[in-house]
């Protein structure tokens, strides 16, 4: 920790660590200095010249993103000199910017629009025609480039150079002829390409997936956690429920990474970013059903389904012994779900070792040093902390079971035809239609709860939209079957389940459901068994 | 008078003459009621700067919208005759019949003209000449209450029932007042026969016709007011209260509804006839002796004069309807019991005293 020094900001005496950038120190004091090129995760090349402010003793306005705090510095960010310098700088940026805001997806969350209203408001003196460059250039799997709108802040080129180190983008040419473009023969198709859309302060880089669907101001934003892998990146779920026709009825419009220095920084991978589509996909299971004698599924109401499953389980357990019932559970389930499952298994008399949470072949994937983890499930550590085995596959139980209850993962082929097969989840997967019972599960964007990432950090999932149709979160299903069996499950929201959980489970002792936005580490640290 | 019975005429002549008179009186009432539906629309339209109903036409001729009477009749007759399933159908059907019949029967007692000497005998132009005509009319008007209450009760609807009860309370209250009001002039005329009451007013005093309105101005005003309330006309049309409080015929449609509507108009005609007879000198035209008419011509003039006066009163009732806002129910009952009835009794006392003094 650098030592604190005193300096003057807009005439006020403030303290900041020595060597911190003035722009950051000002932000800590609640003073916003406009900037484009500077990004805390990408460095400060000082090319946009928008963060210029008056520094006492310097002959000209200085860039606050290139000036370090030192004892006795006197910075004025809102003096007439500073304001005029910022406005002039902004005018240069807008000189060749096409102002096609009506068709630009960035409108509403565009830094050019915001800064013009707050720091610009000059009368344009540019009478010449604007530069025309290539519009609508398809540069990658997910990204569309509009060279006219680009203000050459180089955030995206620094991202592909420094963060992903894939080097697809660069600014070519000089002066007003400089354009952002791909290196010849390359495409922006690295696994983190979506991030360049987030960091682009204007609408030069837009998301092909989101393109032209919803205007930014219609979106509702819910902070949550991506369940795509064991990293558990902090995300914002953007939902469009006010104008459903814009997205053709899809409720979840897009995901954006949410800054969390402990987990994902500013970034998230494309796999997670575009993984939201399952929330409104055609494969969603909206209602529960049971296969009739004719092989056709018959719809069940949630109460009916829970009661009938409970009745059948009670009879089968009595006849064949509870040791023959296996639970194949996705480790993406929240701690609340797993806690309810534990209670249900205890009530039935099923040993905890009959629950298989180890990721299946379809739940393992690519891994890299940046964010992505091999295990494509979100709560492996949480499952381990709750005492579930997370390494053993289902093979050990082969031949010993009469029933399989599968939650949120592909069914196990060899168990087809068992007396009891139940599949529960949000999206139909391989084998889910062969189960006798189907219970409709809620999608993770519809779920409240907590998950523990690979490093033992507990984070909060928040429901961005209500569960579709008659689907319900897994803890609610386990709870209602438990109640139908005569057990006690006095909870009707995830917060209540978590309170019971933190009281009962030593690994979660003392935690509150309202977690800080960055999450907290498990009090006793990461469970050792939490790797596949 | 009973002139018909005293002569040696065959009975069938009397019977036929009576039948024709009654048919004419009822026909006059029904035609006028139909005409009033048009008057009501047009009069309100003209005084409110509108045009009024004018779309019904035959071959493009609109004729001031008079065809609306015809189109209304066709509409009412071809509409679904709906009886509420929770109601009592026979009574539901009977109610408008009772109301309308009572009003129609009143009409037959109005003295449309004096007697006329022809073919060696006297022909009384009153359809049903009665010595107690006033009592007859008032009694039949109160029979109308039965229709109202029956309609409200048989509809099986709380709104209709409340409307019917409101109607009963109002009509019975004003019946009492009506009797007290007419007692004054009748004491003056010394008769209960409507024709004789009309004939009494033919006398003059220094050229001024001594009509009931001159001798009994207070009774005239009270009679018009109480009459409007008794016949449920605006500003006392609370039993109906179409838009706000919902009346007894809320469950009626088609011709049955039209019968209730017609009852209102018929009762208005009866009220106008009674007013004409008791207060406006009946068929008497001041100065008619100077015209030199006699016999049938004089009688015809009397009929025309009576109908003209009757129409004038109807016009006044309409005009009042389109001038005054509706009363509140408590105001209505207050007016009847606390104001009109005492004033009527005072009027009766003063009349009795004066008659005693001058006779």
């Amino acid at each position: 920790m650098a030592k604190l020094v005193k300096f003057k900001l807009n005439g006020k005496d403030v303290e900041a660590p020595e060597g911190q950038l003035v722009i950051d120190a000002a932000k800590d004091q609640g003073v916003e200095v406009p900037h484009y090129c500077y990004h805390p995760g990408l460095g400060n090349p000082g090319v946009c010249r928008l963060c210029v402010c008056e520094v006492a003793g310097a002959p000209k306005p200085q860039m606050t993103c290139r000036t370090a705090v030192k004892e006795g510095l006197d910075v004025k960010t809102d003096s007439p000199v500073a304001k005029r310098a910022q406005a002039s700088s902004l005018e240069f940026h807008l000189a060749n910017h096409p102002l096609d805001c009506p068709v630009c997806d960035q409108a509403g969350e565009c830094h050019l629009q915001d800064y013009y209203q707050r720091f610009g408001l000059y009368k344009s003196t540019v009478r010449e025609d604007k530069r025309h460059k290539e519009k609508r250039k398809d540069i990658g799997t997910w990204v569309m480039l509009d060279q006219e709108r680009c203000i050459q802040c180089t955030r995206c080129t620094r991202f592909v150079d420094n963060v992903t180190k894939t080097h697809e983008l660069a600014v070519f040419g000089r002066g007003d002829r400089s354009v952002l473009d791909l290196y010849p023969g390359m495409r922006l198709d690295n696994p983190y390409s979506g991030n360049v859309v987030d960091i682009c302060p204007v609408g030069a880089l837009t998301d092909k997936d989101f393109r032209f669907s919803v205007r930014a101001w219609y979106l509702d934003r819910t902070p949550s956690v991506c369940t795509g892998c064991a990293r558990g990146c902090s995300v914002e779920v953007h939902t469009n429920t006010k104008r459903p026709w814009h997205t053709g009825g899809r409720r979840v419009a897009r995901l954006k990474p949410r800054y969390n220095p402990e987990v994902n920084g500013w970034w998230m991978c494309d796999e997670g970013r575009y993984g939201y589509k399952s929330a409104d996909a055609k494969t969603r299971v909206k209602g529960s059903s049971v296969l009739g004698t004719d092989g056709q599924p018959a719809q069940l109401t949630p109460a009916d389904a829970a009661a009938r499953v409970a009745k059948e389980l009670r009879e089968l357990c009595a006849d064949n012994g509870p040791e023959g019932l296996a639970f194949l559970v996705s480790a993406s389930l929240t701690n609340e779900d797993l806690f309810a499952l534990k209670a249900l298994m205890k009530r039935l008399g099923v040993p905890l070792s009959n629950a298989v949470l180890a990721p299946g072949a379809d739940q393992l994937g690519e891994e890299d040093a940046l964010l992505r983890r091999k295990e494509k499930v979100a709560n492996l550590s949480g499952a381990a902390a709750l005492g579930f085995g997370v390494t053993k596959g289902p093979e050990a139980l082969k031949g010993k079971v009469w029933g399989a209850w599968t939650v949120g993962r592909a069914g196990h082929g060899s168990w087809i035809g068992l007396p009891f097969t139940l599949w529960q989840g949000a999206n139909a997967v391989r084998g889910s239609d062969t189960a006798r019972w189907v219970l409709a599960g809620a999608h993770w964007t519809e779920t409240d709860g907590t998950v523990v990432n690979f490093s033992g950090r507990v984070q909060r999932l928040r429901a961005a939209v209500p569960p579709l149709g008659e689907s319900a979160p897994a803890w609610a299903w386990f709870g209602s079957v438990l109640r139908a069996l005569g057990g006690a499950f006095p909870h009707d929201d995830a917060g209540s389940v978590f309170a019971a959980l933190s009281a009962a489970e030593p690994a979660f002792a003392g935690l509150k459901f309202e977690l800080p936005k960055d999450g907290v580490l498990l009090p006793k640290g990461r469970p050792e068994a939490a790797t596949a | 008078m009973m002139a018909c019975c005293e002569t040696a005429c065959p009975l069938w002549v009397d019977a036929a003459f009576s039948a024709v008179k009654i048919a004419l009186a009822m026909g006059f009432g029904l035609q006028t009621a139909a005409f009033l539906t048009w008057v009501e629309r047009k009069q309100s339209a003209v005084l409110q700067d509108r045009i009024g109903a004018n779309r019904a036409s035959i071959f493009g001729f609109k004729f001031l919208g008079l065809f609306h009477i015809l189109s209304d009749a066709i509409k009412m007759m071809t509409k679904e005759d709906f009886a509420p399933p929770q109601g009592l159908k026979p009574w539901h059907t009977l109610a408008p019949i009772i109301s309308m019949c009572a009003a129609l029967m009143c009409l037959s007692a109005l003295p449309f003209g004096a007697s006329v000497e022809l073919f060696g005998r006297s022909w009384n132009l009153t359809p049903i000449p009665l010595e107690y005509g006033v009592i007859y009319v008032l009694a039949l008007l109160s029979v109308g209450v039965h229709g109202v209450v029956m309609a409200g009760w048989a509809s099986g609807s709380n709104y209709a029932l409340l409307g019917g009860l409101r109607g009963a309370a109002q009509m019975i209250s004003y019946e009492v007042a009506m009797l007290a009001i007419v007692a004054g002039p009748l004491y003056l005329y010394g008769t209960l026969d409507l024709a004789q009451a009309a004939a009494w007013q033919a006398r003059t005093w220094h050229g001024l016709p001594l009509w009931g309105i001159v001798l009994q101005p207070l009774a005239f005003i009270l009679f018009l007011t109480a009459g409007a309330a008794e016949t449920k006309r605006a500003p006392f049309d609370l039993p109906e209260g179409e838009a706000e409080i919902v009346g007894y015929f809320v469950e009626y449609s088609g011709m049955k509804f039209a019968m209730f509507l017609n009852t209102d108009f018929l009762e208005s005609i009866v009220l106008a006839g009674m007013t004409t007879t008791l207060f406006l000198g009946g068929w008497h035209l001041p100065g008619q002796s100077h015209l030199g008419l006699s016999g049938p011509l004089l009688a015809a003039l009397g009929v025309v004069v009576f109908v003209t006066k009757l129409m004038g009163v109807l016009w006044l009732l309409m005009q009042i309807r389109w001038t005054l806002p509706r009363f509140r129910f408590d105001q209505l009952l207050d007016l009847g019991w606390k104001n009109i009835l005492p004033l009527a009794l005072v009027n009766l006392l003063v009349t009795a005293w004066a008659v005693h003094l001058f006779s």
Partner: protein, 191 residues
């Protein structure tokens, strides 16, 4: 601020005796209505006999006589076209956003014209819900939507008939009955 509240006392008009007995007031009312009746009767007669004078009623015989609107009133919407016949609308959703009645429904799509980029796939206005405030016209950055004058009647037999899509709004499908007459309230009648 003083926490005391003062209650304004409203003085109700006192009912005088002559008003209480009501009869005089009834008489006054009757005089007014009867005067109206007679004056209007005279005017009706005067017009009917061809002697002219003011009309006895203010009623417009709507389907027979043309309805008259002020010249500057803005009524039914129209979507404008470019010179090549394509709609000017770029589906920026500003009109949909500003619309207080929430009666505009737009879906966007990629335009084949690279200089246009974005265009409306559907552009529907529910004229049954529209309040004709004109905000959409003011919000439009492309001058793609305007409101015509003289078109106040667009009847439909169902509510769905009142939802106009792009062909109707651009005039490719005619749904208008005859236009009404517009007059300048400050001057002589316009054509």
């Amino acid at each position: 601020m003083n926490a005391k509240h003062t209650v304004a006392k409203v003085r109700r008009p006192e009912v005088r005796f002559q008003e209480q007995i009501y009869l005089i007031e009834v008489w006054k009312g009757l005089v007014i209505t009867t005067r109206h009746l007679l004056v209007n009767l005279y005017r009706h007669l005067s017009v009917a006999l061809g002697r002219g004078g003011p009309a006895g009623s203010v009623t417009t015989q709507y389907p027979d006589d043309p309805q008259v609107t002020a010249k500057r009133s803005r009524t039914r919407h129209r979507l404008l076209k470019r010179e090549d016949g394509t709609p000017r609308c770029v589906a920026c959703m500003l009109c949909e956003t500003v619309c207080p009645a929430k009666c505009i429904y737009i879906q966007a799509e990629e335009s084949p014209d690279v200089m246009v980029e974005k265009r409306a796939k559907t552009f529907k206005i529910d004229l049954g819900m529209c309040v004709f405030c004109g905000y959409c016209v003011e919000a439009c950055p492309e001058d793609a939507i305007r409101m015509d004058t003289q078109f106040i009647a667009f009847p439909g037999m169902t509510r769905k008939d009142l939802i106009w899509d792009m062909p109707e709004l651009m005039g490719d499908v005619k749904k208008d009955p005859k236009p009404v007459k517009a007059v300048d309230p400050l001057g002589p009648a316009a054509s």
